[in-house]
Symmetry: C2
Subunit: 170 residues, 2 copies
């Protein structure tokens, strides 16, 4: 199962840091790539830097046609929204249907997205953060194994009870 | 078990949105309050607005003495860091020890924090987002029940397969 994230309606300046957090969260929790509905060179650069050091082939792309992108996606289309059905109830139906497109909205999501999605899914019914919603969704979707992914990078953390240990190879 | 989040080393301007996302994530995933190491009126205001509409008594405070705050905390002190031990390995030891302080660092965390914490815990060994790390940590700590919390607010989402439904009472 391959997971792609589609980020809609981001506001370049205001959301610059949030967009980078979204991309790195998607990467760290096992998704394969993220697609934005407008170009975001800052995010691309951050992710390329992280890939170069820490490994993996996580991709950052942009599309001018998000509608077409959703329609053409081969797999299950999941829209993360506080108005959707509880994640715990919907996950069993999502798993095992092949690849997943996780659609993450910005401030305003066009009503059409709710119709284009196969599932509208809430990570809680309270207003919070699309970064948090995506993280919990991916963690549960992969049943905790998203975090176990091996990136095979030049740099690697060796978990420590106290302090920091990073191994660097060439 | 009551969970308090302590946010260290935030940079007011650059991290303004991230700080709000952190607070709302903590609230939505079942924590009781967040404490910053400097004052952040914007976050306080956002959270007050959310509490007023959506309910619950989630608190936002600031402390000038984060060291003392950690030392005086009655309960288990958990520092979320990519250099720590895997969350899945440490959680069984954390649960059942009473209240939890979840320490979330900013760009630079003083080395002392690693010593003051009872547990340094990684949510994956890859660089990503403190918002995502906190979300997954809380979701796993509460074994998914953080999201089930009832806030008893004036506004309440009624989960829908398509579209939005919010019930408002007075």
């Amino acid at each position: 199962m391959k997971v792609t994230v589609l980020r809609l309606g981001h506001r370049l300046t205001r959301d610059a840091r949030i967009n980078t957090h979204l991309a790195l969260t998607a990467r760290a929790l096992g998704a394969s790539g993220i697609v934005y509905d407008s170009s975001c060179p800052d995010v691309e650069e951050s992710v390329q830097r992280v890939n170069a050091s820490w490994g993996g082939g996580f991709s950052v792309e942009s599309t001018r046609g998000w509608r077409r992108f959703i329609q053409d996606f081969k797999g299950v289309k999941v829209h993360l929204t506080m108005y959707g059905l509880p994640v715990a109830d919907v996950l069993p139906a999502i798993r095992g249907q092949g690849d997943v497109l996780a659609i993450v909205g910005g401030a305003k999501v066009p009503p059409e997205v709710y119709q284009l999605a196969d599932y509208n899914v809430q990570v809680g019914g309270q207003p919070h953060s699309e970064v948090a919603a995506l993280a919990v969704f991916l963690d549960r979707l992969f049943e905790g194994e998203g975090l176990e992914k091996e990136f095979g990078g030049r740099m690697r953390v060796v978990p420590q009870a106290k302090g920091k240990k990073v191994v660097e190879s060439n």
